[in-house]
């Protein structure tokens, strides 16, 4: 009876695991890229890579914001509407003669206000996130349409429109914006205490509360960040298409959520990262870009997208369970 504690093989630490998981989605993305490079010569061209980066950028930023909310166990259906609405606001402000930086700042501030309103609805009014953000979605589109009367507002500032077209060091500005969002988001989520609080609230709000976490403030924070990301995307979209139009970005909320979930975020909260949603968004963008280059019939394209989503998430799940 002297058997001492046998050392059990120590489980892989969770963090490494997460990075590995990220890596393997990355592997999938790279695989897609290799396959497409072989299938069509134009895929690997510099110009197409730039296009691809541009095409995935906006959903990627939305997905990062959305992920903060999903980690707390919530959902933000309003991001598409915020994007559309903010294209209108920034377009109007610029056309009214405000300097671009001021117009952008004001638009971002509006995003913060919308996010705070969501937090208020959830925390103070006790509304389910699904409902309050759905209501904002509906109302914001209405307000935007009312302001523009269904018209698009043509932005009369070429420098502003140029921004999204240009590159810096050979990388499209839009992709720089992803980096600009992703790095602070990564530090915030994985290396700051507020990031920890997002996870803990999503895992068990009551336990967090009893451990001194300000649960309400954490929820405000998550929705504000999501809306802020959306407002930022609104500015980028206005720059890219050169108009303010409240009906734009319809359905982007679902794309953002899908990117996030493909990237490993759990809709039950407490599981998620920053790199996951980014990879998710660029996987979706690659599928569309590839299908366009291969001139796949638009209808087939939808079918393939659906099937690929299933396959990707399935294999990803297999790998995670297998570990």
């Amino acid at each position: 009876m002297t058997t001492s504690t046998e050392t059990t093989p120590i489980e892989k630490p969770k963090r490494n695991y997460n990075i590995l998981f990220g890596l393997t989605l990355l592997a999938l993305l790279v695989l897609l890229w290799i396959a497409l490079s072989l299938a069509t010569p134009s895929f690997a061209s510099g110009i197409n890579i730039a296009n691809l980066l541009r095409q995935g950028s906006m959903i990627a930023i939305l997905a990062v914001g959305q992920t903060f909310v999903i980690i707390t166990g919530g959902i933000d259906l309003s991001v598409g509407a915020i994007v559309g609405f903010c294209t209108v606001i920034v377009a109007m402000l610029i056309n009214a003669g405000f300097p671009v930086w001021l117009a952008v700042l004001a638009t971002l501030a509006l995003g913060v206000a919308i996010g705070l309103f969501h937090g208020f609805g959830i925390v103070k009014m006790g509304l389910p996130p699904f409902i309050i953000t759905l209501a904002t979605l509906t109302s914001l589109r209405g307000i935007g349409l009312l302001m523009t009367n269904g018209n698009s507002i043509s932005i009369k500032n070429d420098a502003f429109s140029e921004f999204s077209r240009n590159s810096f060091l050979g990388v499209p500005n839009l992709f720089w914006m992803v980096i600009l969002v992703a790095i602070p988001a990564y530090i915030f989520l994985h290396h700051s205490r507020w990031g920890r609080y997002l996870f803990s609230v999503g895992s068990n709000a009551e336990a967090s509360r009893l451990s001194g976490v300000n649960v309400n403030r954490t929820i405000y924070l998550a929705y504000t960040l999501s809306a802020l990301c959306a407002a930022f995307v609104g500015v980028l979209l206005a720059s890219r298409i050169g108009i303010g139009n409240p009906t734009q970005a319809e359905g982007w909320e679902l794309q953002a959520i899908a990117s996030s979930v493909i990237g490993g975020t759990s809709l039950f909260g407490a599981i998620g990262s920053v790199h996951g949603p980014l990879l998710g968004a660029f996987i979706l963008a690659t599928i569309n870009n590839g299908a366009n280059l291969l001139n796949v019939n638009s209808f087939w394209q939808r079918i393939i997208t659906g099937a690929l989503i299933i396959v990707i998430v399935y294999f990803d799940g297999l790998r995670r369970r297998g570990k």
Binding site: M1, E6, T8, H191, R196, S200, A207, S211
Partner: protein
């Protein structure tokens, strides 16, 4: 009364298996999790009609064994024989069909269903395919009443306290025409009175020839009930003893491979200044409670389930609103609006329900341990990785939390080890007043002794402690002042050792 007919179901009565013959035999049963060898090959036979206790340290593999026997998890290797025939036990249904049932360690019932619906879940009464809701409530009520549990059958399960839920789980397991019934720490959340009721129930089942497996960290329960006892250590079966041929000391030695001379370790300190005082405090679930805690003393709160102790401390801690009365901190009236205020003053609360209030189960052990102190271990913006690591590892080492590492998920720990996290996070934080609500639920003897020693350390540093426990020996031995709660009121107070167990119990029940 024959329990298996109590619910009117025609379950096969335990056939006339000969008492003393093995009914369930394990040969080389083994379970490996990724990274953990939870159960090393075990050979063990359970005899018809015996009460077989299983004891062991936290994480020794007791619950794992139970989960294997009830088809909850698949085994890695080995064989199980039921009545001499090999069985796969691949699904819970298969176990239920054989007559193997369990009351699991964590209350696993549906909070959103009524008590009655939970009791008959999977075996609903139907007529022409329609649920007989009213009949089921009546039948459930009758069963509950017969067992002497005074609980309503039609309320949502989630509205009951955990202790009450545990009773329902026990009641539920007994009505399933069972031949083999496993209790995994059923008394953890029960008071002495309820424990007696449960024991009566278990003896009735034994008399009917049901084989009982009983897991507990409380030695006196093992000696009171069991005929044989098996000891697990680190997933290995260390030995099986007839209860008559062994004693406390031997079992403890087998369990932890060393002996402890004394479980209830208590140093006396000269009480200092009053830290916290409640004056005529009322709130949801309790009324007009006045008491105070001084530096260097342990104030114990004893009472039956639902006596209002938890609500009282939650109000003190700012989680619930007080309806009347005042709270004093260091002699001055304190305005505690929320938990954060309480923490800032210097309070710490380890809540009673680790699942609902204590732990973020799907986060890592380290994150859970550091949750209250992230502010302290962050520079302006960033968390200090080194401090995060050192604080987590100090508690893992100090409390001997059995885990694959600080990055392992809290949900992968055994029940007792989860409980250690709930306590450990407040040790990291440090405070003037520690409130421990049922701190040793599911904790093994060795660790219990360590936790009590830890109390002494806290006291020696000038802290005060409020200790709530439904386990009378614990509060009785440790508390400098013992307050007894009944129906939301503080009905009696005693200094250490002043009143007998019986007196305290009588006050708590109020006969």
């Amino acid at each position: 009364m024959i329990l298996s007919t109590l619910d009117g179901h025609d379950h096969p009565a335990p056939d006339a298996a000969v008492p003393g013959q093995p009914i369930l035999e394990l040969k080389g049963l083994e379970k490996k999790y990724i990274g953990t060898h939870a159960l090393k090959p075990v050979d063990l036979a359970f005899k018809v009609g015996e009460i077989h206790a299983i004891v062991g340290e936290n994480g020794a593999g007791k619950s794992t064994l139970i989960k294997l026997l009830t088809g909850v998890i698949p085994r890695t290797s080995g064989e199980v024989f039921w009545d001499g025939k090999p069985v796969a036990l691949a699904t819970p249904n298969e176990a239920i069909a054989l007559g193997i049932n369990a009351v699991h360690q964590e209350v696993v019932l549906c909070r959103h269903l009524t008590v009655a619906a939970n009791m008959f879940l999977g075996e609903e009464d139907t007529r022409f395919g329609m649920l007989q809701g009213r009949t089921m409530v009546q039948r459930a009520q009758k069963i509950i009443d017969d067992l002497g549990f005074n609980l309503p059958a039609h309320v949502m399960l989630g509205d009951l306290t955990i202790g009450q839920q545990q009773l329902i789980a026990a009641a539920r397991a007994t009505i399933r025409g069972t031949r083999f019934l496993i209790f995994d720490e059923p008394t953890a959340y029960l008071t002495r009175k309820e424990t007696e009721q449960l024991f009566a129930l278990i003896r009735r089942l034994e008399a009917e020839g049901v084989t009982i497996v009983y897991i507990s960290h409380r030695m006196e329960e093992v000696f009171e009930l069991a005929s044989r006892v098996s000891v697990l250590r680190d997933g290995t079966l260390v030995g099986t003893r007839n209860i008559a041929e062994t004693d406390d000391a031997e079992l403890v030695r087998m369990m932890i491979n060393r002996s402890i001379e004394q479980i209830y370790h208590k140093d006396h300190f000269e009480p200092g200044e009053t830290i916290v005082g409640a004056k005529n405090l009322s709130g949801k679930g309790f009324e007009d409670v006045s008491l105070s805690v001084r530096a260097g003393e342990i104030v114990g709160l004893y009472g039956l389930i639902g006596a209002g102790r938890s609500e009282f401390v939650l109000t003190l801690y700012g989680r619930e609103k007080k309806s009347a009365g005042e709270i004093f901190w260091n002699g001055k009236p304190a305005n505690i609006r929320n938990e954060h205020d309480a923490m800032k003053l210097g309070m710490a609360l380890a809540p009673e329900s680790r699942r609902d209030q204590g732990l973020c189960l799907n986060l890592s052990v380290g994150t859970n341990l550091n949750l209250p102190i992230y502010k302290r271990i962050s520079s302006k913006l960033l968390i200090s990785g080194a401090q995060e690591k050192s604080h987590a590892e100090r508690q893992i080492g100090g409390l001997r939390i059995k885990t694959a590492g600080r990055h392992a998920l809290a949900s992968s720990l055994s029940g007792g080890n989860q409980q250690k996290i709930v306590i450990g996070k407040w040790l990291n934080h440090g405070a003037k007043l520690f409130i421990f609500d049922e701190p040793t639920v599911g904790v093994d003897v060795g660790t219990k002794a360590e936790i009590y020693r830890l109390f002494s350390t806290l006291l020696s540093k000038g802290a005060g402690i409020i200790l709530i426990s439904s386990y009378l020996p614990e509060v009785y031995e440790l508390a400098d002042t013992l307050h007894v709660f009944r129906r939301g009121r503080l009905v009696a107070s005693h200094a250490h050792g002043q009143a007998s167990h019986e007196e305290v119990l009588t006050e708590a029940i109020g006969v």
